[in-house]
């Protein structure tokens, strides 16, 4: 059986009284010809890369190779204790931007699910793991849950900004992170599903409009927002709030909205923020003419 709907996955987990990650690991071990231990060990290495990128970006001001962005993760980290949103949300957001800063500087990251949205899952997951005193292995289990959500979105909608806009990249990353965080916090598989729906609904229709075509403006800040929204989506679900529209229908709607977006708003740098006077000016400065 392949994982092609959230309902199927949640049902399977409920029926066997197991976590989503446990079902996913068992099935992927069969599909990929690896043992569950081997899968976990590989994912632990990926998690290590995520942590290293987040650490680099919150403790140093990292600048992009184009020079148009830098230091966002570092700055918000400095404000994390005194900020209005509370330290968990701010640390998650700071780490997400930190990883994005590392990405824009040609540093090492894990595409999750894409390079453009690579900060959201590490930002949310590392911070919640720290807050709840969980182990790396538990965090990695949650990554399998995130990956399953990503696969279901890829099968029923899309994960590519060029196809579905930013909702498909940062929106999906936020939904994946939300499900991971619900599981890590001890929520039920069904609550993880509702969290996916909340995260996607929050950004439905969000366009992909990178200034000068670079993975920087507005991508880095959208990563910061995506991590914060993932935590809110998880908290809503953990509080017992349910999505009126079933999560699988939300995913399909996101894909359909993506198809309706004009070409200018799908990673072509021809619309949205990329087409503002300042956006065009930056384009000229970086690439000339």
């Amino acid at each position: 059986m392949s994982i092609n709907s959230l309902e199927k996955l949640i049902h399977l987990a409920e029926e066997r009284n197991r976590k989503i990650s446990s079902i996913v690991k068992e099935q992927k071990a069969k599909e990929q010809g690896m043992t569950e231990r081997e899968l976990t060990d590989k994912m632990l290495k990926y998690y290590e890369v995520m942590k290293q990128a987040a650490n680099r970006g919150v403790f140093e001001q990292i600048h992009s190779i184009s020079g148009i962005t830098g230091g966002e993760g570092f700055k918000l980290w400095q404000a994390a204790e005194k900020g209005l949103s509370g330290s968990v949300v701010l640390k998650a957001s700071a780490r997400a931007m930190a990883v994005s800063n590392v990405n824009a500087s040609m540093g090492k990251i894990v595409a999750a699910p894409t390079a453009g949205s690579c900060g959201i899952i590490p930002g949310a997951l590392i911070t919640v793991t720290e807050k709840l005193n969980k182990s790396d292995e538990e965090a990695v289990d949650a990554l399998f849950t995130a990956a399953a959500v990503g696969e279901i979105i890829a099968r029923n909608a899309t994960l590519a900004g060029a196809e579905g806009g930013c909702q498909a990249e940062c929106g999906s990353a936020s939904a994946m992170a939300a499900a991971a965080v619900v599981e890590l916090a001890g929520g039920s598989p069904r609550q993880a599903g509702h969290a996916v729906a909340f995260a996607l609904k929050a950004v439905m229709g969000m366009v992909c409009d990178p200034v000068a075509g670079l993975v920087e403006v507005p991508c880095i800040k959208r990563n910061g927002m995506g991590a914060a929204q993932a935590l809110l989506a998880a908290d809503m679900a953990l509080a017992g709030i349910e999505s009126v529209i079933p999560p699988d229908e939300v995913i399909k709607a996101m894909g359909e909205v993506g198809c309706m977006l004009p070409q200018q708003l799908r990673e072509t740098a021809l619309g949205g923020l990329a087409a503002t006077p300042t956006g065009k000016e930056i384009q000229k400065r970086v690439f000339g003419g």
Partner: protein
């Protein structure tokens, strides 16, 4: 779906198509040359030419030619690494060509003994496709262990190659042959499940009628 395609790959940013894919293309071109490149002329087309600089596509292509993979932290400083390795490189803006894929690079590589011309594209999500080798139309992704031969289009060559592989217990996943015209030169691509043994290139080149063989490791 491989779970590490959803969470993963580990890569140097900022872009899977313009950075990771570019490294893979350079790496494949190096393996097609089959020896340490000394000179490289790389022509960037379309989106690679227009937005490549901001994505580090130039450094990524050179890094690939040096043999790096997409997660190598030396990609950022590949121009300096090229100097150390004695690789002379030239990056050329090829402008826009409608017939080519949006993210296309053309490589002219020169080693101590061989030269080669490779054209390839980064086709999305970091995946790549090599579309031409030394003027032959091809199609391979570098996802498998790959053997390529350039040989005379005469009976028996293909079976000599496959029997050489089967003796080594190598299972062929996919295989394709492209030829210039009947009786002239042909190019064969074999994608295998197993790691190809060292020395396979030399062994195949000893077969009568084979001009050149290449042994290409996966770049994923």
């Amino acid at each position: 779906m491989n779970i590490f395609d959803i969470i993963g790959p580990v890569m140097i940013g900022p872009s899977s198509s313009h950075t990771a894919g570019a490294v893979r293309l350079g790496n494949l071109a190096r393996h097609i040359l089959g020896e340490e490149p000394k000179k490289a002329r790389i022509i960037l087309y379309n989106s690679f030419a227009s937005t490549g600089k901001g994505h580090g596509t130039d450094r990524a292509l050179v890094a690939g030619i040096l043999g790096f993979l997409p997660d190598d932290e030396r990609i950022r400083t590949s121009f300096e690494e090229a100097k150390k390795a004695g690789l002379e490189y030239e990056l050329v803006d090829g402008g826009s060509k409608e017939k080519l894929h949006p993210n296309t690079a053309e490589f002219f590589l020169e080693g101590p003994e061989n030269t080669t011309r490779v054209v390839g594209a980064s086709v999305g999500g970091g995946r790549v496709m090599v579309s031409s080798i030394d003027g032959f139309k091809t199609e391979f992704s570098g996802e498998y262990h790959t053997v390529i031969t350039i040989h005379k289009d005469i009976p028996g060559i293909i079976s000599s190659v496959t029997s050489c592989l089967s003796k080594k217990n190598i299972n062929i996943a996919q295989m394709r042959v492209f030829r210039e015209s009947r009786g002239e030169k042909a190019l064969m691509i074999i994608e295998a499940d197993e790691i190809l043994p060292e020395g396979i290139k030399e062994e195949l080149e000893r077969i009568n009628g084979i001009f050149r063989a290449m042994n290409i490791s996966p770049v994923y």
